[in-house]
């Protein structure tokens, strides 16, 4: 069987690798190539312009703002989303009090309902979520300000998406709301595979819920958390952040560039301003940021794998 083993493996890998090269690697190479041209995206003619697009990008205030916001998204959103998801899934699966006659390890009362409820936002498309929240944030007749008026806080009527100090946070809140459910389900699945004996042993030793979480659950769930972290970071840098910013915000990207993100800027340059080459340049910058983010997360998160 040893004979021809590699040929056998290569035989199976060739197709997926070929497809991957064709549809993932090749477009990357193409974008990098176009970033050195002055292609408009509207005509087949273009010329090489060397590093002109990159020089322009470094001078572009809007680019720096979008980079800043994208980085904030990539750093803050995973922390909040994964933190919340870990808390919820812990309470659903492990955090409950022992009930007479029940198993030693169980979720809080009604946890099966919560599990479904948390997953609801994941079922809605991000475009619908963004539209719903755009209505809710309407300062004149939206749900949030109506609620504030209803409870006697009529003086407190923030402009939400119309206020440059609040808009970015409003957008982030929507992303947290819409993605937490997915991670609750992901972590719940991970927690289900942790043997109950470990928890029982910890309980016998007198560990409370906080200790159990940090000493048992989190270390055994680390791999899942880490991949969730990378996934959420890429989500926050990519399509999801584009959708909410494009649909919800002033302009979009405003007010006064307070919510613009790199993907939105790529889109605007390519499809609004007819500057496809410059857009791919920003795209290349986005690629660098995304790769750096994944590398840092995987590097920092490297731990010895626990066998159980």
């Amino acid at each position: 069987m040893q004979h021809g083993k590699y040929r056998f493996i290569v035989g199976f890998l060739a197709v997926p690798l070929g497809l991957y090269t064709l549809f993932v690697v090749w477009p990357f190479i193409q974008s990098i190539y176009y970033s050195f041209t002055d292609w408009t995206g509207l005509s087949p003619e273009f010329e090489m312009v060397g590093l002109a697009n990159y020089e322009r990008m470094l001078d572009d205030d809007i680019f720096w703002k979008s980079l800043q916001h994208s980085l904030l998204f990539a750093l803050l959103l995973p922390v909040v989303t994964i933190g919340l998801a870990l808390f919820f899934s812990f309470m659903i699966n492990v955090g409950g009090r022992r009930r007479r006659g029940g198993p030693a390890i169980t979720g809080v009362r009604g946890s099966s309902v919560y599990k479904i409820v948390y997953f609801f936002p994941q079922v809605l498309s991000i475009a619908i979520v963004a539209l719903l929240f755009a209505f809710a944030y309407n300062p004149d007749s939206g749900a949030i300000n109506s609620l504030l008026r209803g409870i006697g806080l009529g003086e407190l009527q923030p402009l939400w998406l119309g206020d440059p100090d609040l808009a970015l946070w409003c957008v982030m809140a929507v992303l947290v709301w819409s993605t937490t459910g997915f991670f609750v389900v992901l972590f719940s699945a991970g927690m289900a595979s942790i043997p109950a004996e470990l928890y029982e042993a910890a309980l016998l030793d007198g560990a409370n819920r906080v200790t159990t979480f940090f000493r048992v659950t989190l270390p055994l769930l680390w791999d899942t958390v880490q991949s969730g972290w990378v996934y959420m970071g890429i989500l926050a840098l990519g399509a999801e952040s584009f959708a909410v910013v494009q649909i919800m915000t002033t302009g979009p990207g405003g007010p006064d560039y307070s919510t613009t993100v790199m993907v939105l800027y790529v889109y605007q340059k390519a499809f609004r301003d007819g500057q496809a080459a410059y857009a791919t340049t920003i795209g290349v910058a986005l690629l660098v940021v995304t790769l750096a983010f994944s590398a840092v997360v995987l590097r920092l998160g490297r731990r010895e794998r626990l066998e159980y």
Partner: protein, 487 residues
């Protein structure tokens, strides 16, 4: 790119395919996908166009002044937006009747850019395009890259109804100029005609016992009166503050003369520092300072602000003539949708009251590389006939570029007010070009980051002017965008 692999691997009918064969085959399939990549290198930006495939010109006759090849197929792509597609389908029927031998391929889409950008890149665009909507392809770039055909032959052809009159003489003011970018050539024909201005409910104003205010002092007085009744003076789409210029720019022209707007369009140094600009900015800022703007306006989008306006929460709204159609479902029957030219400052203004912004919408283009460009132009000539124009107006409640075509149909209140406003304006129709020449500058920079911030009270007029002048200077210096000048 998939065709080669299909040919190589689709012919095997024998049973009993051994494991070895299977492996060999999958390896081959994988290898195939590598060379096919070379085809792709031309994928995104396409190859050169095939200029040799253009349809031969037909014979020019009185009925066929553009010399359309009577049997050449014609392809027409329409933006399927607020105006629908029926008006164009009707016009296509006329084309098919006039040229029974020609096959017309008509399609309507909202995704103009995603369907057509690749075809421009391949050099095989359709013959007539309504390049409109959210996915509009950047006109400046299309012109700059010589992708569009000059429409002068169409404009100089006899009009459809009256052979003694050229097409260009049947159009409303500003239409031909709007199609020019630099020089005499006309690249775009705007088919719809939009009246911009201050929109209000005739009934609400009558209830206040007021007429539309012609000076700014009167405007403030009307707003004060409304405020006492709990009605805000103004609202606007705070999320898209580039609606504010619909009434602000013609006001600037009224106060300081149309040349102030021309200087702004030409990105001249210090154009925004003109005293008329400053006076108008300060006038608008007064609306904010005195609390005449509907609370929460900076967070409203266009639909939300129009709804608040239709519900009577605010009196005035800067908008265009599409508002009547767009918000039809929330505007009460007795609302009396009315448009007025913007108020001026006082009697020392350069232009009379009535100076208004009106211009074309729905830009139609004929690509330079179209196979049957003459057919595309002929289709436009048909659409610019009185019958087609009237059909459009009665179906979608909007005027067309054709000057006339409103007799004998019942106009909606807003449309009637628009026609009246145009009559009152006479020659004083201004046509600021920033929004089609420099989209990013107009919408994102001047609109959102400048005017939007000022009207939300986060910038003073002086700060806003300084910021906007900075944006304009940047755009003037930016050599990645094409620059245009008023002729």
């Amino acid at each position: 790119m998939g065709s080669t692999s299909a040919e190589n691997h689709g012919t095997d009918g024998t049973a009993a395919v051994g494991r070895r064969d299977l492996i060999k085959r999958s390896a081959a399939l994988g290898l195939i996908s590598v060379p096919t990549m070379s085809f792709l290198s031309a994928c995104a930006s396409g190859g050169g166009g095939d200029d040799g495939e253009k349809a031969k010109a037909g014979k020019k006759t009185a009925k066929n002044p553009l010399g359309v090849n009577e049997s050449a197929p014609m392809e027409f792509v329409l933006f399927d937006g607020g105006f629908g597609k029926e008006y164009a389908e009707d016009a296509v029927k006329v084309y098919e009747k006039n040229f029974p031998g020609a096959k017309v391929k008509f399609s309507a889409t909202q995704k103009i850019q995603s369907t057509l950008q690749p075809r421009f890149n391949q050099g095989t665009p359709p013959d007539l395009i309504d390049n409109s909507g959210a996915e509009q392809m950047d006109m400046g770039t299309l012109v700059g890259k010589n992708q569009l055909a000059d429409l002068t032959p169409l404009l100089d052809a006899p009009s459809y109804d009256d052979p003694a009159k050229k097409v260009r003489d049947t159009l409303r003011p500003g239409i031909v100029e709007m199609g020019q970018f630099d020089g005499e050539k006309v690249w775009i024909l705007y088919y719809a005609y939009t009246v911009y201005g201050v929109w209000y409910s005739g009934k609400a104003l009558a209830a206040l016992d007021e007429e539309y205010p012609e000076t700014w002092d009167r405007m403030l007085a009307v707003c004060a009166k409304a405020k006492k009744k709990g009605i805000a003076g103004w609202t606007y789409p705070g999320k898209y503050p580039y609606y504010i210029p619909f009434s602000l720019y013609p006001m600037i022209a009224k106060v300081g003369g149309a040349e102030v707007l021309d200087a702004i369009d030409n990105l001249e140094p210090n154009a925004w520092k003109h005293p008329a600009v400053k006076a108008c900015f300060e006038a608008y800022y007064e609306l904010y300072r005195k609390g005449y703007i509907l609370r929460g306006t900076p967070g409203l989008d266009h639909i939300q602000s129009q709804t608040a306006w239709a519900q009577g929460k605010a009196l005035f709204l800067p908008n265009g003539s599409w508002v009547e159609n767009e918000s039809a479902n929330v505007i009460p029957d007795d609302f009396e949708v009315t448009v007025s030219a913007p108020s001026g400052l006082d009697s020392s203004d350069k232009l009379p009251f009535g100076t208004i912004w009106a211009s074309g919408g729905e830009p139609f283009i004929v690509p330079a590389k179209a196979n049957n460009g003459a057919g595309g132009m002929e289709q436009l000539r048909i659409m610019l006939s009185e019958a087609s124009s009237r059909n459009f107006t009665s179906k979608v409640k909007s005027l067309t570029a054709y000057n006339g075509g409103t007799d004998g149909i019942t106009l909606t209140p807003g449309l009637k007010a628009g026609v009246a406003a145009l009559e009152k304006a006479g020659q004083n129709v201004v046509n600021p070009r920033l929004q089609d020449w420099y989209v990013q500058l107009q919408k994102e920079k001047i609109g959102v980051a400048g005017l939007g911030e000022m009207m939300a009270g986060r910038l003073t007029p002086a700060e806003a002017i300084k910021k906007i002048q900075g944006f304009a200077d940047e755009a003037a210096k930016d050599d990645s965008i094409k620059h245009y000048k008023h002729q």
